[in-house]
Each structure stands twice: as C-alpha cells, then as structure tokens.
C-alpha cells in the first residue's frame, strides 16, 4: 500500500506497524492476507485429496493421513480462509461505508486479529504430533473426536477456544461500530447492505460461537476428566454432540454466506448502473434467514435417528429458508434487468455467484427433503451441495469484493485482462470440480474416503482435473493483487462509473485516516 501521508499521522514504519496497529485499514489488510495464506494452505490440502482420488486405489497417502487432510482442509477453509476474509472486508469497508473514523474498539480489534495466527499455528502443528492431527472431519463428531481421537485433539480444542474468542471480540466490535459510529444522517435503513449483513451475522456469531466453545469443552472433559456427555454408557449420547455442534454449525454456514449477499448487493447495482431492487426486502430477507438458521440445525442429522415429529419440523423449517433466499436472488436479477450492464471482473464474479449459488441452494432444498436425504446423506452429493454454496458462493464473493475495492485500497487499477483470465479459469475449474460430484453422490459414492469403486472413476478424474485447474488459477489472483499494490493505472476516487456510497467519496488510495470529521450528510444517499 503506497502510504498516503495526509495530515498529522500516517502509518508507523516497519514491522511494528503491523504488530501494534490500531488502524482499521491495516487490520483489514492483515486479515485479508492471513485469509489468503490460509486459502492457499487449505487449498494445498484439498489438492492432496484430489490427487489421491484421481484414480481408484490408494496411491499417494495413507487412509489416516487422508482423513487428516479432509479434516484440516475443512477447518482451515471455514475458520481460516472464509471467516477472516469477511472480517477483513468488514474492517476495511464498514468504517468507510458508514462514515466512521475507525472501528469502535481499535485495540481489541488488533487483539481479535493477532489471536488467529497463534490459533492456527497450534491447530496445524497437530499434524506433526504423535498420533497425527485431527482425523475426524471438520464436524468432529463424538466419539470419533473423543474416545477414538488422537492425543493432539487437546490442542485442536484449545485452538477452537481461542479462535472463538477472537470471533466474539471481532463481532462485538462490529456491532459497536455499526450501532454507535454511524455518521449523522446514516440511518439504519440507509446503510449499505454489506453493513446490514455484517450487523446481522455479528449477532449470529455472538450467539453460536459460545455454543461451539461449550461443545468442545464437553469434549475436553470427556477426554480428560471422565465425564460422559457423549457416551451412552454413562447416560450421555453421541447424538447430543451433533445437536450442539449443528446448533453452531448451521448458523455458521449462514455466517459464511450472508456477507457474501452483502458484497454482491453492492457490486451488482454498480455495474448495472441501477439502484438495488428491493433494498428493504433484502434487509428483511437477511434477518429472516438469520432467524431461521437457529431452528433448522437437525437437517444435518436426519439419519441419526430422531423422532418423526422432529424430522418433519426440521424439514419444513429448512425449506422455509428457500423463501427469503429466493427473494434475494429475485432482487439481484431484477436489479440487472434492463440495467446498463458492463462486465468487469467484480461483476463477472458477482453474476457467477448468483447463478452458481442458486444451484447450491436448490441442492440444499433437495437435501432438506428428509426421505431423500436418507439416501444422499454423507455422499458426494452433500459435498457438491456445500461446495457450490461455499466456493462459487462465499469464495467468489470474496474475490469479487477484492477486485471491486482493490483500487480503493491501493490507489491503482488492477490488470483487467488478468482479472478476467482469473475469473474464467476459476469459473470453469470450479464447475469441472464440483458438478460431477453431484452425479457421484447420486450414484452412491460416500464422502470422506480415500478409495472408491471402479464405476466412479470417470467423474472422479474429471473432478480432480477441475480441482487442479481451480487451485492453480488462484496464483493469478495473488499475482494480480501484488501487481496492483505495486502500481498501475491511477484509480479515480469513484473508481467505478456507477459506484455509490461513502467509500467512493474518499481519495484512492483511501488515506490512512478517513472521516475524522463526519462526512457531509448530503453525501449519504438512500440505498
């Protein structure tokens, strides 16, 4: 970042700038770089998996190591790549969008970030410990994660604890910022949707991260202190683990997608050169999705044995989510309808998001049908479902956001040709990678296995080719970002012709301190 030395204080020099900073932009950049590093690490694990699955038979890794790879891949991607990326975007953009001088609690902001590298160092180091790292899947079901777990699970548990603390502090900060720091005139219903989605997900996070902390604590006690929460021999129940985990887990998947909705709702109007269609309904839809996410968790557990009434309740409640989600998709399409559209890289990612996320939503509704899920559960169909919502969903939105705001962050335009190349390779790669997995699942291939029957061979090698294509394309993103930080065509303040909002009223690159005095209320538009 070429430091813009505006009036009194710019950034400190050297490493201490990053270690001790209280500046929301610095902390945002830290989060984003951390997330990218984790994305590459988690991606490497994924490629180990895809290499092993390229052909039937065991060729590269031991089954136990394979299980560690799937587990670590999931954990690193969810907690290390996707969540921190959105916190990074929140840090950078929320103060700029609501006209605030910084985050509400800048020191705690730094703490939220700096816990993460330690937490992940500890988590990843478990792979080098005796007995290997966690090998029970990112959902760490008991008793796999208690009775039969490797000793390193203790460190995994503590890593989850401190990571959760970081998330809770980050969310508290976001809430305090949004509720308390808006510029005069920035009423709640004038806030950009990205701010809204963050406000709502911050509540989700504060509500469910402690439950995750609780459930890993019970694991810790079952492992080390002889309690029987998840052991029926003492009156507990392994299914209890699943209830607690998914009470956290389903809201967690919403946490990963709601911000994405916010990002896409910012980008589509800009490049369609129209106002967002149905702003109010977008806000209400976000809130309803968040509310529903608390009462659908057991749709992940249809096959464990639940009373019929429970199965019906969770089936219908889950299907209800499709309604507010449909409202959103409708509004994005309506925003584009008859817009003066151009297709710069952020817009390409955003449109791909709308299409591919919708596919993931549809397969979600299929999975929600209880009797049908009996067959699909724990097959590659589920893998295809959640990757459609997570990769061309959440991850594409993060990339869209990166391209969209990169000029504001660096002051230079990124290389559009390379951006488009990155988009098309990712788009093709991701579909090659995950679309065939639907068929694999429907045909009965189970998830989390290192070897498979011969009839699955074709779709698997296609999927692996797609995986390597997608994985290596991400190096283009790295290159584009570095190149853009170094220089390029100067960006204007507004950057994009159709862009609206306070973040586009400050210079590019955004000075180290912005909105030390509140912006002119006339600059704040209705959304």
């Amino acid at each position: 970042m070429s430091a813009a030395h505006d009036h009194h204080h710019g950034p400190a020099k050297g490493l201490s700038r990053w270690l001790y900073t209280t500046n929301h932009k610095d902390i945002g950049s830290l989060y984003l770089w951390f997330s990218f590093a984790m994305f590459l690490l988690g991606g490497t694990f994924a490629l180990v998996i895809r290499a092993e699955l390229f052909q039937p038979g065991l060729q590269f890794v031991e089954p136990n190591f394979f299980n560690q790879m799937t587990t670590m891949h999931g954990l690193v991607m969810v907690f290390g790549a996707v969540m921190p990326a959105f916190v990074g975007l929140a840090n950078w953009m929320i103060p700029l969008m609501i006209g605030a001088p910084d985050m509400a609690l800048p020191r705690m902001n730094n703490w939220s970030f700096w816990i993460l590298p330690f937490a992940f160092a500890m988590m990843v180091s478990t792979m080098f410990m005796e007995g290997g790292g966690p090998n029970f899947g990112w959902t760490f079901y008991a008793p796999l994660s208690t009775t039969y777990a490797p000793p390193s699970t203790t460190f995994f548990i503590f890593a989850v604890h401190i990571m959760g603390a970081s998330s809770i502090m980050g969310s508290i900060n976001v809430i305090a910022t949004i509720l308390n720091m808006r510029a005069p005139g920035m009423t709640l219903m004038k806030m950009p949707l990205f701010v809204w989605t963050w406000l709502i997900t911050a509540y989700l996070l504060i509500a469910v991260m402690p439950v995750l902390a609780g459930v890993v604590t019970m694991m810790l006690f079952d492992i080390h202190f002889g309690t029987s929460f998840f052991n029926a021999a003492g009156g507990g129940d392994p299914v209890l683990f699943q209830h607690l985990f998914w009470f956290f887990g389903h809201p967690e998947v919403n946490i990963m997608i709601l911000h994405a909705f916010g990002v896409v709702s910012a980008i589509i109007p800009t490049f369609a050169r129209k106002r967002l269609f149905g702003y109010d309904s977008m806000v209400y839809a976000t809130a309803s999705i968040a509310f529903l996410s608390f009462i659908v968790w057991a749709h992940h557990m249809f096959t464990v044995g639940m009373p019929l009434a429970g199965q019906l309740f969770f089936m219908y409640a889950t299907m209800l989510i499709a309604v507010p989600t449909g409202v959103k998709v409708f509004n994005w399409v309506a925003t584009m309808f008859r817009g003066a559209m151009t297709f710069e890289t952020p817009m390409l990612f955003a449109i791909a998001f709308v299409v591919l996320f919708t596919i993931g939503g549809f397969t979600g509704v299929m999975l929600a049908i209880t009797p049908v899920d009996f067959q699909y559960h724990d097959t590659y169909f589920v893998v295809a479902h959640f990757h459609y919502v997570l990769v061309p969903g959440a991850v594409f939105s993060i990339m869209a956001a990166t391209y969209y705001w990169l000029p504001k962050w660096t002051g230079y335009m990124y290389d559009e040709t390379l951006g488009k190349l990155h988009f098309w390779l990712s788009f093709i790669g991701v579909n090659l990678l995950f679309f065939p997995q639907h068929f694999l699942g429907l045909a009965g291939m189970p998830r989390r296995i290192p070897d498979y029957a011969l009839q699955f061979a074709n779709f698997n090698w296609i999927s692996s080719v797609g995986g390597f294509l997608f994985g290596f394309s991400q190096l283009i993103l790295l290159f584009v970002v570095i190149k853009c930080v170094k220089g390029g065509k100067k960006a204007t303040d507004q950057v994009w012709e159709g862009a609206q909002g306070l973040e586009w009223t400050v210079p590019s690159p955004a000075p180290y301190h912005t909105f030390e005095t509140p912006p002119d209320p006339k600059l704040i538009h209705a959304q």
């Binding site: 305090a176 720091m181 003492g234």
Partner: protein, 308 residues
C-alpha cells in the same frame, strides 16, 4: 445515536503493544494447559508444561492489568468521548450475551439428557428400542444413580434423592442458602451503586465490602458442597451424566462467580482509591452487570439442577 459533536472527538488510540503480547500470553497459556493434560494422560512429568502455562498466564494477566489501567487513565485524562463510552457499553452487553449462550449450551445438554437420551436408553419413547437392546436392565431415572454401564462410569452412592420440601429441610439445604446469599449480594451491590450515585463514598465502600464478602462465602459453601458430593454422595466427574452435567454447570458458574468476585474486589479497591464519579463509572457498572448475570444463571441452576 450517531451524534455529530462527539463523533469528531472519537478517540482512536495510536499504536498499542498490548494485544500482540496478550495473544502470545494466551497462546502460551492454552499450549501449556494442553500439554499438561496430555502429559497427565500419557503419564509424563508435567513440570515443563505447567511452567509454560504459568508463564503464559502471567504474561496475559500482566498485560490485561496494564491494558485496563491505560483505559482508566485515558478516561481520567478526559480523552474518552461519550460516544466511546457507549462503545464500551455495547461491548459489555454483548459480551454478557455471549456468556449467556455459553451457559445455554450446558443447559441444553442437561435438558437433552434428562428429557430425551436417558429415557431412550431406559427403553422409553421414540428411540427406546436401542436402549432395550443395549442395556435391557437399565432403568431411566433422574438423578441418575445407576449408569447403563457401571463398569465404565462408577455409580454414585445411593440416597441423595431426599427432597421433602419443608422448613427443616431447606434450613439444612446448602444450595438454598447459596441462592439466598447470591440474591442478597445482588441487592447489596445495587445499594452500593445507589450510594455511588449519591456520592456517599463511605456507604459505597461498606456495601461493596458486604457484596464481596457474600461472594466469597458463596464460593466457600460451593467448595463444601463439592466435597460433600465427592465424599458423601460419590457424585464425581466420572460418575455418569448426572455428575457430568452437575459439575460442569455449577463448576462454570462457580468459575464465573470467582471472576465476578475478582472484578468486584478490583472495583472495591478502585472505590477506595477514589475512582468513579456519579455520572461516570462504567467500569463499576460493567462489573455489576456481570455480577447480576452470574446471579441470574444461579437462579436457573437452582431451579433446573437442584430443585426439579
């Protein structure tokens, strides 16, 4: 809410070393603890790992102490605008909410085992068949005194289910007195707050001393109760799901009371040093909120763990 005049004065601190080193302290603490647990499990010596945890914790504690001291100093120096103070208020509120959800997980586990899984293992209800097959002898009951497999989880001793609610019973019933103590302490704390607002320093300190004393008495009684549970009743962490839920719920509550008492002691010392003004004492209020919160949790515990 977003008022223009105070916005321009929002205090954004310059660089700070606290959080980075606090992270190191935190990481060392949990890394050390993890090693302690694993060393015990593997039968190794725990000396090194204990030291790692202690050093980490000392770093963390020192930093938090200084961090809070800095915040207090800045407030005394008048650097904090009303808006920044509101940020602290929001922060504390949502922190307490997150604590509520932490307890919710354990209460949820309690309800689940009592209403669903224990009856199922006993052969009742929708999933009773499994229980019948696994442990046909097992009878569902609460408190659970005979575990499905008592060779893995040692049964508690018999004879703890003696709740005839009468005056003579209550007067010898320790949890009842603990409830009285905690509720009283919330009231005395409220009086302290009133005294603070009325600028009656002596009365403030008196009520704070009473509150802290009640908190400490509660903790002592809780220790006595645990000794009773382990010694007399044979309810232990290892005695099946009753002991598991009992000790984790009351244990985490007790841990929070300890933390709350510590906060109140700090507040008491600050009161003695002349901190806090009638219109500016959020540190005090935050500790008070926290104390009321642990009080409310206890009422939940008293009802669902002890009475029902």
């Amino acid at each position: 809410m977003a008022s223009g005049s105070s916005q321009s004065a929002y205090y954004v601190p310059e660089q700070t070393k606290y959080p980075f080193f606090a992270s190191i302290g935190l990481a060392l603490t949990v890394f050390g603890l993890g090693n302690v647990l694993n060393d015990i499990a593997a039968g190794n010596s725990v000396t090194t790992s204990t030291w790692i945890a202690i050093v980490g914790f000392l770093i963390l504690a020192t930093i938090l102490f200084n961090w809070f001291a800095t915040v207090i100093r800045e407030n005394h120096a008048g650097m904090n605008s009303d808006q920044l103070k509101r940020s602290y208020v929001w922060g504390m509120m949502w922190f307490i909410f997150s604590e509520v959800m932490f307890f919710a997980a354990f209460f949820g586990a309690l309800f689940y085992v009592r209403q669903l899984s224990v009856p199922w293992i006993g052969g009742e209800g929708a999933k009773g068949i499994t229980g019948d097959v696994l442990w046909p002898e097992f009878q569902a009951a609460w408190p659970l005194l005979a575990n499905p497999d008592s060779s893995v989880f040692i049964n508690p001793h018999d004879g703890l289910n003696v709740k005839e609610w009468s005056v003579s019973f209550l007067s010898g019933y320790l949890p009842f007195w603990n409830t009285v103590i905690l509720i009283t302490s919330s009231v005395t704390l409220h009086y302290a707050h009133v005294a603070l607002k009325a600028e009656n320093r002596a009365r403030l300190i008196q009520w704070m001393v009473v509150t802290v004393a009640l908190g400490l008495i509660f903790l002592v009684l809780q220790v006595l109760e645990y000794r009773e549970a382990y010694g007399h009743y044979g309810i232990t962490l290892n005695s099946g799901i009753y002991g598991s839920t009992f000790f984790l719920l009351t244990g985490f509550h007790g841990f929070h009371v300890t933390l709350g008492t510590f906060m109140l002691i700090v507040m008491l010392l600050r009161c003695m040093k002349g901190h806090f003004k009638p219109d500016d004492h959020f540190g005090f209020e935050a500790a008070a909120w926290y104390w009321h919160f642990v009080d409310v949790v206890w009422v939940g515990l008293f009802i669902f763990v002890y009475c029902l």
